[in-house]
């Protein structure tokens, strides 16, 4: 096995210690791995705001959360998705294997297309969500938020002709989102990128290698994801930032991503759902129906993990449903309980994520609510602080059907100039 580039960067840190300190980094084992883009990102992370994702160091924010968020909506920005897990699944049985694993029908996926999907336990509880890229007949890339090697092994039981390889550390990936992204990619010379439709894939020669560009993302805006061999990461970064300089290109971190995805109505693990395999109590995880992902479950397929349980769930109806709500006023309803009445006597659900949406100027949230109460009054009990003094208020909520923000450019091909 060759040394992974990211591991190399991680051992090199030893030599950067100030003089007088031990040449041996006794904390090496506790330091996080770094992505192929780390060198550039670290230089721009003026706030030294780092978090961990799957063992990688990645940014919560670089400069200012709201500024980075507004770059996604106004200009363009990059978000390092290298730590997202990437698996190459190959072989004549690859399709059948994936089809048994995920709830969506993979048969329908064409070469050069991407689909969003989720996979469940036999009890129909959600393990994770992710995307499947159909790279070629019998050749797929699966992405997921958390490591899935162990589940893939189980999912592959009984299939002779399929292999799955964890490519996470070998591929550098940047999510490139915002209204100016297509202009920047055109400027980089990726001819025809403007004809790429949402969930489409294109390949271009880049730096003696190949770059894969998919029109995918997690912001609900116009955007692309760029995939390249890890050791070409810095070359990609430099070319992208040179082309993007006149378009306000800016790295953004987890905090801004979380804002944009909430406006788009997308869910996050350990915010909206608990991964079933890591959940202690059987009532603490969710089914796709509870998360509003019923459209991902295809019962026309003969069999897939969780089918029987999900059929039953569909008949019975979920106990709670993830719902988009707007809340009066401007106090984000973080961790609020929801009630049927203003006196807060009958609890009917809780808020999973909440924020003030700068683009629609509204106080928005995702919430788990018992479906039978969706048509009536919904009240949120909001706790907040004013100069350290705790306060609370009861605010009226309104159910919203569509995502909070859906710019037309996200779906337009070719995308508009701005």
């Amino acid at each position: 096995m060759t040394t992974k580039p990211s591991m190399k960067a991680f051992t090199e840190q030893v030599t950067e210690l100030p003089p007088g300190l031990s040449p041996v980094d006794n904390y090496a084992g506790e330091r996080l791995m770094t992505s192929p883009f780390h060198e550039r990102q670290a230089a721009l992370n003026l706030r030294d705001s780092w978090e961990a994702w799957n063992g990688y160091k990645f940014a919560n924010h670089y400069y200012d959360v709201e500024y980075e968020y507004i770059c996604i909506r106004n200009l363009c920005g990059t978000y390092d998705i290298t730590p997202m897990q990437k698996y190459l699944i190959e072989g004549p049985d690859a399709e059948a294997m994936l089809n048994r694993m995920v709830t969506r029908d993979v048969n329908k996926l064409k070469v050069g297309r991407v689909t969003y999907c989720c996979w469940c336990t036999d009890e129909g509880r959600m393990i994770d969500d992710g995307t499947i890229f159909k790279l070629d007949e019998g050749r797929y890339m699966l992405t997921s938020g958390s490591p899935s090697n162990a589940w893939l092994r189980m999912a592959a039981f009984g299939f002779e002709n399929v292999t799955y390889v964890d490519k996470t550390d070998d591929i550098g990936a940047l999510s490139f989102q915002g209204p100016m992204t297509c202009e920047v990619l055109k400027k980089m010379g990726f001819e025809g990128i403007d004809t790429l439709k949402p969930f489409g894939i294109m390949h271009f020669p880049f730096a003696g290698d190949t770059i894969m560009i998919s029109r995918t993302g997690f912001t609900g805006d116009l955007g692309y994801e760029l995939w390249i061999t890890a050791d070409k990461g810095l070359e990609l970064w430099d070319a992208l930032y040179e082309a993007g300089a006149d378009y306000g290109i800016q790295p953004y971190g987890e905090a801004a991503t979380s804002m944009a995805r909430l406006e788009a109505g997308f869910i996050l693990p350990y915010v909206e759902f608990a991964e079933s395999l890591k959940t202690v109590h059987f009532k603490h995880d969710q089914t796709p129906f509870e998360l509003g992902l019923g459209w991902l479950v295809d019962f026309k397929k003969p069999h897939f993990s969780g089918r029987a349980a999900l059929l039953e769930e569909k008949k019975r109806g979920p106990g709670y449903v993830l719902t988009k709500i707007e809340i009066e006023g401007n106090k984000p309803a973080e961790e609020s309980h929801l009630y049927r009445d203003k006196a807060c006597r009958k609890e009917i659900g809780w808020v999973t994520s909440a924020m003030w949406s700068p683009v629609v100027k509204s106080n928005i949230a995702l919430a788990m609510i018992q479906p039978k109460y969706l048509s009536g009054d919904i009240w949120a009990e909001i706790s907040y602080k004013k100069e350290m003094k705790p306060r609370w208020k009861i605010a009226k909520c309104t159910v919203v059907d569509k995502p909070f923000y859906t710019p037309a450019r996200a779906k337009a091909t070719p995308p508009p100039k701005f």
Binding site: E66, N74, P179, Y247, Q250, V360, K361
Partner: protein, 539 residues
């Protein structure tokens, strides 16, 4: 000719807001506009290929977010983008940068004065306390202090309660503050002349007052009380320029069936039996309506488009004496690149902010002295921003446009009327000053639009080019705006209203005047009030 429920004169942002709310309430509404474009002073105009200037107003912080949400302005194309950091320039070429994060911001002021760095947080707390009170009144109709109507009494009680909650000591401070000058107010906080000057400049913007003139402290507050998404004091740009605000409001108006007629300047408001009947356009066309709403300034409304005979005694005189002195100029410049300012690092965030060419306290006061004499200063205060550094839609990629607001510029010159030559000489003064702080600046200039009060009055219709539609001094604020007894948007002739910045809460792109006026009209029509209450940050 079609008869309308309401005709609104002037398609500026307040006229459009007013029209949108009336149309939303089911009224048949027409907005008439003298220019062949809408927006008034909230406008984006392509003055040269691919460069869209926000010709007049250029940033916004007072836009009522509840109106933005309620009228679906996002769906109608509006997006407000907060902008960061400003570089301030002193007379010896010293700089002060405003950083976003607290730590760097503190260190930057400490570099100039440790004392003032400490004092800054006290100033910010005091300003926020003062602005909290004013902000609560923005989307409310001022009470008539002499009326005994239950609604007026309730509103007076609301004001009294709001002020009383400050505590006794702060209340005295607040009353003192209203009559102070910006410079004297800041004396209480700072020791450094440059910092005082930098913090005082919002006190003179748009106003025919100097930094030492009583009343300028309130103007300062008016400029820092706005917010973007709850960040008090932050300023935003509209994506697509300030015209995007007017266009979105026009979209909301049209969505509800309202109409707009451009190239339709009003010659006269028709009055019969002390009641409005409609308007006569400059081309002689008569348009009839039950209601007429003037979005023109108070002086223009009562002295230009109304017949003195139709008005009760005294109104014409009040309007004629309404304080609406012009004091500002604007120079819009298209650039082939980003200017490099001396003493400002090539920092991607600071480069995206604004510039304030200040000098010191004396520079500001001397510039005011020139204005009084009917001259422009050779060393004026310039507040600039490069919107294209934020907004990819207003200049070709890699190129920029720079908005420069100049305080002061006299509406009337001592040596006779404004001429194109004098206008250009004024513009030259401005670029000379910028060049002193950004060598090579002039080589980047692709196109320039120079606007003195003369151009602003002629193009936009603001008397003397006063950006606030009347000065924001205490004698012309709250229930005194525009005149005592007429602060509730109803004017002395029946079914006539005003909805522009000459009414409470005054100047700025807030939509508040237009919305408040709509609320009063709906009350008079006994229709349900569909104008929302303001979002409150203070509960």
């Amino acid at each position: 000719m079609k008869h309308y429920d309401a005709i609104i004169i002037g398609a500026g942002h307040n006229g459009l807001t007013n029209g949108a709310y009336l149309a939303k309430a089911g009224l048949d509404v027409l907005v008439v506009e003298k220019n062949d474009y809408i927006g008034g002073a909230a406008v984006s105009r392509e003055m040269t290929d691919g460069y869209w200037y926000s010709s007049c107003s250029y940033v916004c912080s007072m836009m009522r977010q509840v109106i933005h949400r309620d009228l679906n302005l996002t769906r109608h194309g509006l997006m407000l983008v907060p902008y960061l950091g400003t570089a301030a320039f002193g007379k010896q070429g010293e700089t002060m940068l405003s950083y976003t994060a607290e730590g760097p911001a503190y260190n930057e002021i400490r570099r100039i004065s440790q004392h003032d760095a400490d004092a800054m947080s006290r100033l910010m707390a005091d300003l926020e306390r003062y602005s909290t009170l004013i902000r609560k009144t923005l989307l409310r109709t001022p009470p008539d202090p002499t009326s005994f109507k239950p609604r007026d009494i309730m509103e007076l009680l609301f004001l009294a309660k709001t002020f009383w909650e400050m505590g006794e000591e702060q209340l005295y401070e607040y009353i003192r503050f209203f009559t102070m000058s910006a410079a004297e107010f800041l004396e209480d906080y700072f020791e450094n002349d440059f910092i005082k000057a930098a913090m005082a400049t919002p006190g003179i913007i748009g106003t025919a007052l100097g930094i030492y003139s009583p009343g300028s402290a309130y103007i300062l507050l008016h400029h820092v009380m706005g917010d973007v998404d709850g960040n008090i004091g932050a300023w935003g740009l509209a994506r697509g320029g300030m015209g995007a605000i007017s266009n979105a409001l026009a979209g909301a108006l049209q969505e509800h069936g309202g109409e707009i007629k451009t190239k339709a300047g009003v010659d006269q408001i028709m009055v019969k039996d002390s009641k409005v009947k409609g308007v006569v356009l400059e081309n002689g066309d008569e348009l009839t309506s039950d209601i007429v709403v003037s979005n023109l300034d108070a002086k223009r409304t009562f002295t230009k488009v109304m017949d003195q005979k139709d008005l009760p005694p005294g109104i014409y005189e009040k309007a004629n004496n309404f304080k609406i002195r012009g004091s500002s100029g604007k120079v819009n410049i298209a650039l082939s690149g980003v200017p490099k300012f001396t003493g400002v690092p090539d920092n991607r965030y600071i480069n995206r902010g604004g510039q304030a060419f200040i000098g010191g306290l004396e520079t500001l006061e001397r510039a005011y002295d020139c204005w009084k004499r009917g001259e422009w200063s050779s060393d004026p205060f310039i507040e600039s921003v490069i919107p294209s550094a934020w907004d990819p839609t207003v200049a070709p990629a890699g190129n920029h446009w720079m908005s420069n607001f100049i305080q002061y510029c006299p509406p009337k010159l001592a040596d006779g009327p404004w001429t194109p030559e004098k206008r250009d000489a004024f513009g030259q003064t401005v670029i000379d000053k910028i060049e002193r702080h950004a060598p090579g600046f002039k080589d980047l200039i692709v196109h320039m639009e120079v606007r003195t009060p003369h151009e602003i009055e002629n193009e936009v219709g603001l008397t003397e080019g006063n950006i606030f539609q009347g000065e924001l001094t205490i004698d012309q604020l709250l229930f005194n705006r525009p005149f005592p007894g007429y602060a509730q948007y109803r004017m002395p002739v029946k079914n006539m209203y005003m909805c522009g910045s000459s009414t409470h809460p005054g100047g700025g792109v807030s939509s508040a005047c237009g919305a408040n006026a709509a609320r009063e009209i709906l009350i008079d029509l006994k229709k349900p009030n569909t104008v929302p209450e303001d979002d409150c940050y203070d509960d």
